[in-house]
Amino acid sequence: MSESPFLKNMSSNRLGGHLSKTVLYILLILGAVVMLTPFAWMVSTSLKNSEYVLSMPPQIIPSPATLSSYRRIFSLYPIGRMLFNSLFVATLATLGQLITCSMAAYAFARIKFRGQNLIFLLYLATLMVPFQVTITPLFIMMRIFGWINTYQGLILPGVFSAFGTFMLRQAFLTIPREYEEAAYMDGASPLTIFSRIILPLSKPTLATLSVFAFMGSWNAFLWPLFLVREESMMTLPVGLATLQGRWLTEWNLVMAGIVITVVPMLLLYLFAQKYLVQGYVMSGLKG
């Protein structure tokens, strides 16, 4: 576990230490306010009655507060089913990414092979073409595979992300080779080194990638919009999109829908928090 002991330095000077700490906390709280106010707003709007939603100047605390938006959404949409679809797709997409990206990253980071820079450049290149233009050929491909309106069609294209490979490659490159050398001397195979040494040492990055991969799949809109052809296959973003009407939008409903979509992501992040925080003590292995 590593934390830069800046605070320790500060507190060595008593008065200055307390002042700096106070300033620090003020900054942090201000920052948190800036970060969270829009969400407080979102929740507040979701609890309002339609008449009060866009009243200017804006009302911060809803009065009267009501759960009618949420009730209405649950009666209009099969939320349970959509939640299941989103979870199923996102979970599998994330697992797929974790596995394929970490393996590819290991190859790039630890094995010297011909053409590796070129292939890595190919990976990067796939990030540089806007997906809005590749989505139509990809959809046609799905038609050819017969994967329209299927779970594999929803999951697979999102699994092979260059982002994950790139991120993990960087993380693997920073692991000192000393750790592997011992195992290598003992004749361990690359697979053993990968699974017993590299992966455990990369937990924070793997956790980070999990969150991003899950998030990308969870919030995806355009691809599921095209691919899904019936209500029972809809994911949350696609299903709830019809809350934005053509002529009139009931913002309290829209916000309630968004809160419903964000909450699972938040829960996941809080779970993953532990692993983002946990580092690994390297000092003991050095020297």
């Binding site: 920052g31 590819a104 590749t134 050929p137 491909m141 490159l173 934005q244 390297m282």
Partner: protein, 298 residues
């Protein structure tokens, strides 16, 4: 057992295939093939509504693009976005990551707070921010009024719409950058700082000689990813201004989306995409070359 060089090489490539194949195969099928299809499209006129009809245009699309005032305007606006967004988001993300790395009360809460914007979809946050930037009743102009400044019309003013979008984007992505930096900051051994402190280093020196160099692979990664993403900025523009007012915030991907999905000009949209690709590719190559001078790997 004597192992020949060939056997060693074969052994190595077996492992390369084992580790690389799943990812590369999927990449090629689901990403590279559609990309190449779109590249081919740049030489044609193709209306998705008449999918069997292709008109060969040669380089015509590229010439049209060169003369297209909307394209150049979109390029300018995109570059403006990038020059505002990248430095800001990298600095705030890094700063917040440093802060979050400290032993603090409620650290989990603060980390969660900065990550909340990241996990929400743009359609959600964009509406709130249009209210925040509301010229008459929004918080921003209210606060500015408190210190005696009359705020501009933000999203309704051609000069201020993009700054508002930049600010909103920085707000949303700071957490993303923070999380990337944080996981690397975690892995810097305690002892390095202690040793430096013993040698008399102050906080700035610690950052300069320990944190930054050890973080440089992550900085490189984050910068690369952020640049690639910011060239493709779209969602926030689409939801907050739709490219307005009067095209003042029109960006490259917005042009691509309009051409691909509203004007039936897929070939032209593909052309714009590939020119965008070239620009991003060049920028990334240049960045890659410079990494040798400042990125240190173990």
């Amino acid at each position: 057992m004597k192992v020949t060089i060939q056997q060693k090489v074969l052994y190595k490539y077996m492992w390369v295939v084992f580790f690389l194949f799943p990812s590369l195969a999927g990449l090629i099928v689901f990403l590279v093939v559609p990309m190449l299809a779109s590249l081919v499209l740049t030489f044609f006129e193709w209306d998705p509504l008449i999918p069997t009809h292709f008109t060969f245009l040669g380089l015509q699309n590229y010439l049209t693009m060169a003369k297209d005032a909307d394209f150049w305007a979109a390029l300018r606006h995109t570059l403006f976005f990038i020059t505002g967004y990248i430095p800001l988001v990298m600095l705030t993300g890094f700063g917040v990551a440093l802060l979050m790395n400290q032993k603090l009360i409620g650290r989990t809460f603060f980390r969660g707070a900065s990550f909340m914007p990241v996990i929400s979809a743009w359609v959600a946050v964009a509406l709130i921010w249009t209210w925040i930037f509301n010229p008459k009743f929004g918080i921003v102009n209210y606060l500015l009024g408190l210190i005696g400044i009359t705020g501009p019309a933000w999203l309704y003013d051609p000069n201020w719409a993009m700054p508002a979008i930049i600010f909103t984007s920085v707000w949303k992505d700071t957490g993303f950058v923070m999380v990337l930096f944080l996981s690397s900051l975690q892995s810097i051994p305690h002892e390095y700082y202690e040793a430096a402190a013993l040698d008399g280093a102050d906080n700035w020196a610690k950052v300069r000689y320990i944190t930054l160099p050890l973080l440089s692979p992550t900085i490189f990664f984050t910068l690369t990813i952020s640049l690639i993403n910011s060239f493709q900025v779209f969602d926030q523009v689409w939801v907050m201004t739709k490219g307005g007012p009067a095209g003042a915030t029109s960006v490259l991907v917005e042009q691509i989306v309009n051409n691909a999905f509203r004007y039936g000009r897929m070939g032209y949209a593909a052309t714009l995409s590939w020119v965008l690709f070239l620009i991003v590719f060049l920028v990334t190559i240049i960045q890659n070359r410079t990494q040798k001078s400042w990125v240190t790997y173990e």
